[in-house]
């Protein structure tokens, strides 16, 4: 057991955990932020996607010992205060989620994609989002919603 200080959604938290504890379980069960989901535990499905310094990472493959106190971790709860991020609004407009379980991860990937590629093509979206599985099959709507969000963000 070791003591760690993390910055999650701009809040400092102190955690006592085994060094190999995946960030996923720290976020969920230590920080109590349940929006980030456990899907496969192997980095295959993307349900656990969060941002580390703005970049999408798989939190199930990120041991707590690899993080610095200065590392900025952002989860689905940290991207907006009123469900008003352009990506969230686009997700609502296009009625993307079905069961919704994978959608936190999908949204975190989409937000990261739009940061590095504000105007992605269908192909760009397919390439970037291929790491996020949706068993309900909401892929077409995800594609559409990313375009909607991209257009909204461009207006600003």
């Amino acid at each position: 057991m070791k003591e760690y200080t993390l910055n999650i959604n701009n809040k400092k938290i102190q955690v006592e955990a085994d060094p190999d504890t995946p960030l996923l379980w720290v976020i969920r069960d230590y920080a109590g932020l349940k929006g980030t989901k456990f899907g496969c535990g192997m980095g295959l499905c993307g349900a656990c996607t969060v941002h580390l310094n703005g970049q999408a990472i798989r939190s199930c493959q990120t041991p707590i010992s690899s993080l610095k106190a200065t590392s900025k971790i952002t989860t689905i709860e940290g991207i907006s205060t009123n469900i008003d991020h352009d990506v969230q609004k686009a997700w609502i407009q296009e009625q993307v989620p079905q069961c919704g379980y994978c959608q936190s991860g999908q949204i975190m990937s989409a937000v990261a994609l739009l940061k590095i590629n504000p105007k992605p093509t269908d192909e760009d979206i397919d390439t970037y989002m291929a790491g996020n599985i949706c068993r309900c099959g909401t892929y077409e709507r995800i594609r559409k919603a990313i375009h909607v969000a991209s257009n909204e963000m461009k207006k600003k």
């Binding site: 955990a17 456990f38 068993r135 909401t138």
Partner: protein, 732 residues
């Protein structure tokens, strides 16, 4: 039945947190008298932590409080199919509420909410459409009468609108909350007048789902999100060989893992299938997983380590020679087949598959010192949980509370409660709250799985190119043998021959049958159940017959549909929307399939492009679903889009295989599901003629996928695929 339900509707005066409330619902036969003394806040807190405590938990479906707050209970768990919106909407429409004017709460299998608190079989809307509208209409009529009494005006001068009653001549209005006390003294109308469908504000419209804001913000609470003070975590090592038994285990290394508290045995029960596992209990889930990794368990495989799926498949092939139990016998198949000019035979095979919902099985349970039990989980069957668990664990139903969360996918998997039995078993042993989570590997490997169906088909064509004789013999293990101890194997298992004798095609001579196969590995319902595999063999063989008859596959099917039928309309619609008669450029092909079964009816045309001599790409899916009446067109579209993606996965991705008695695959790398880059565009068309016949939404989009795709591949490449899954990159 319907009238009886309405007559039994209860109305009562409730004195609770906000004083008098109007409470309406359909009571079940055991609860003609409703008591109003149950106060339960956890329920509300669990499903939607952002809402204030409701403090009520009553039989009825609607509660109107004096404050004007309106709550509608949803008895159909939300598993992605949209019942969180569509079921309360049936009441809200008749009660003249807008979606933002009521709160939805999910029920937890309480007897008072009736025995059908479950989501499955595409049943939710189609079996509740009229009853729930009547609940809303009764409430509306009572509120209208209450207003007319308070105002001393004729009720005919009043109408309801947006949670208010309006007096037409004067224009004055009053909120529902202010009518509750007067309405509480009125009789419940026995035969309320339902709204004219043309006046609908919600039903039939693509209303936005109320669960979606929760699901784009991480606020939706799934079973795995249950957070109970002082809970421990559990991970269970199950016997990797199905049918094996626990001999003993050594927990020394496990107990040395920091955070591990205990190692205990636990029972898993799925119907007649029973197994003992070893659970590692720890302060956090990671410690439980680490402890499990170093746990040494000795199993007695009981000879089941010899099982492998290829040998099993060969046994099913061999059994095809056996005489089947007759499912349908029309005309004289042998004579007609003998006289046919062209005779063709084919054998089709399908694999085992796992459900693989994104949220792996999990359940949190707390067995308290006073021998009451609280359960938090994602389940499709709250009623079943409450029927089973108290009896199984020797508790009174009233001592068990179930909190039904949003489900991270169901697809039939969560119709089983094996993982709930496990968690409750652990809770009983530990006497403290425990959250048990299956890993993805557990979820992939432990079943229950969709059974494989093998099909032996024969068809005879006349000189005029007509199908004169048809035979579909199904050889498969049965789901029922796991659900019931003594299946009568002299009778056809209807669930394993689903639809094969009930397609609309007019075939003069047909003999369909079923051959029972045994298996010890747990099998279960998977989205669209046996139709998900039988449609493949049935509709691909129709395609083979069409080609044998020298006919266009669409024309061949329509020629067998001389009478008016839903199937005929579905095919005609498909023909139109897919431009079927317009030839495709060289190197492309299209295929058609339809399937009618217990859940409803869907059909698809799929277009593919030939990339090389043995590889293709899916270009487009045209899907038609026949519903009669539609509650939310956008939800229907979403369900069909999703069913297509799931259907393509089942058609082209590895299923489940077994070697040495164990499941070979373990996670999404070796039993993959379709990803966004592989997902074809889907164009959905809904046939909704507004008739009284309502069909299901969640499943009918799935069965046509594999056969339409295989038929398209044949059209593009000349390769006839008779075994699922097929590899689009290497068709062989």
């Amino acid at each position: 039945m319907e009238n009886n339900l309405v007559n039994r509707r209860n109305f009562l005066k409730y004195t609770g947190l906000s004083g008098t409330a109007l409470v309406l619902g359909i009571s079940n036969s055991n609860a003609a008298v409703v008591t109003a003394d149950t106060v339960e806040t956890g329920h509300a807190l669990f499903l939607q932590p952002t809402q204030p405590n409701l403090g009520l938990n009553l039989t009825p479906y609607v509660i109107i409080e004096k404050t004007g707050k309106i709550t509608i209970f949803n008895t159909k768990p939300e598993i992605g199919q949209g019942t969180y919106q569509s079921i309360p909407a049936l009441i809200a429409e008749e009660l003249e509420l807008l979606p933002e004017q009521y709160t939805v709460l999910q029920t937890g299998g309480e007897t008072k909410f009736g025995p059908m608190q479950m989501s499955g079989g595409s049943m939710s809307v189609r079996l509740n459409y009229n009853e729930l509208r009547k609940v809303g209409a009764s409430a509306r009529e009572m509120l209208l009468l209450a207003a007319s009494q308070q105002w001393n005006v004729p009720a005919s001068e009043c109408y309801a609108e947006k949670a208010k009653v309006v007096h037409k001549p004067s224009g004055k209005s009053i909120g529902y909350g202010d009518l509750v006390e007067t309405a509480a003294k009125l009789e419940v109308p026995k035969n309320p007048t339902l709204k004219d469908t043309k006046d609908f504000n919600i039903l039939g419209k693509s209303v936005k789902r109320q669960d979606i804001p929760l699901k784009v913000s991480g606020q939706a609470v799934f079973g795995i999100d249950a957070d109970v003070p002082n809970m421990v975590y559990a991970s269970i090592e199950h016997c990797p060989v199905f049918g094996g038994k626990l001999t003993n285990y050594d927990k020394t290394a496990t107990m040395n893992v920091a955070g591990v508290e205990q190692v205990v045995e636990v029972e898993r029960v799925f119907g007649v299938y029973q197994s003992t596992g070893v659970a590692v209990i720890a302060k956090n889930y990671w410690a439980a997983l680490k402890g499990r990794k170093v746990l040494k368990v000795v199993w007695d495989y009981q000879g089941n380590e010899k099982f492998n799926s290829e040998t099993y498949a060969q046994s099913l092939r061999d059994m095809a020679k056996n005489e089947g139990i007759i499912d349908a016998n029309v005309g004289d198949f042998d004579k007609a087949f003998g006289e046919s000019v062209k005779k063709i035979e084919a054998f089709y095979e399908t694999p085992f598959v796992a459900h693989s919902p994104m949220e792996a099985m999990n359940c949190t349970a707390h067995w308290k010192e006073n021998n009451t039990l609280e359960i938090w989980t994602s389940t499709q069957v709250p009623s079943d949980v409450m029927r089973d668990i108290p009896t199984r664990f020797g508790l009174k139903p009233e001592d068990v509370t179930l909190h039904t969360a949003f489900s991270g996918g169901g697809f039939g998997r969560r119709l089983a409660i094996d993982f709930i039995v496990e968690a409750v078993g652990l809770a009983k042993t530990l006497k403290k709250p425990v959250k048990m989570i299956w890993t993805r590997e557990d979820d992939t490997q432990l079943g229950p799985f969709r059974p494989p169906t093998f099909s032996a088909l024969k068809g005879g064509i006349s000189e005029e190119g007509k199908l004169m004789a048809f035979q579909h013999k199904v050889i498969s293990p049965t789901i029922m043998s796991f659900l019931m101890p003594n299946v009568d194997k002299t009778k056809v298992d209807e669930t394993m021959v689903e639809g094969i004798s009930h397609q609309a095609y007019e075939i003069p001579n047909m003999r369909n049958s079923f051959v029972y196969a045994d298996i010890h590995i747990p099998m279960f319902w998977w989205r669209s159940v046996t139709s998900s595999t039988l449609a493949f063999s049935h509709e691909c063989f129709m395609d083979e017959l069409a080609h044998a008859a020298g006919k266009d596959p669409m024309a061949f099917r329509l020629e067998m549909l001389t009478k008016d039928s839903d199937t005929k309309r579905v095919l005609q619609k498909l023909k139109e929307v897919s431009n079927w008669d317009k030839p495709l450029p060289k190197g492309k092909g299209r295929g058609v399939a339809q399937y009618e079964f217990f859940a409803g009816l869907g059909g698809q045309v799929i277009e593919v492009t030939k990339l090389s001599d043995n590889s293709v790409k899916i270009d487009k899916v045209y899907a038609v679903i026949d519903l009669g009446t539609v509650v939310n067109p956008d939800t229907v579209k979403a369900q069909v889009e999703g069913a297509v993606v799931m259907g393509v996965t089942a058609a082209i991705k590895n299923g489940i295989t077994f070697a040495n008695g164990k499941t070979v695959q373990s996670n999404f790398h070796d039993t993959p599901v379709l990803r966004i880059n592989e997902s074809p565009p889907v164009e959905v068309h809904i046939l909704a003629n507004g008739g009284s016949k309502i069909k299901g939404v969640g499943e009918p989009g799935l069965p046509p996928v594999a056969p339409a795709l295989a038929n398209a591949i044949f059209a593009a490449t000349g390769i006839r695929l008779r075994k699922m899954p097929f590899d689009l990159d290497n068709l062989g």
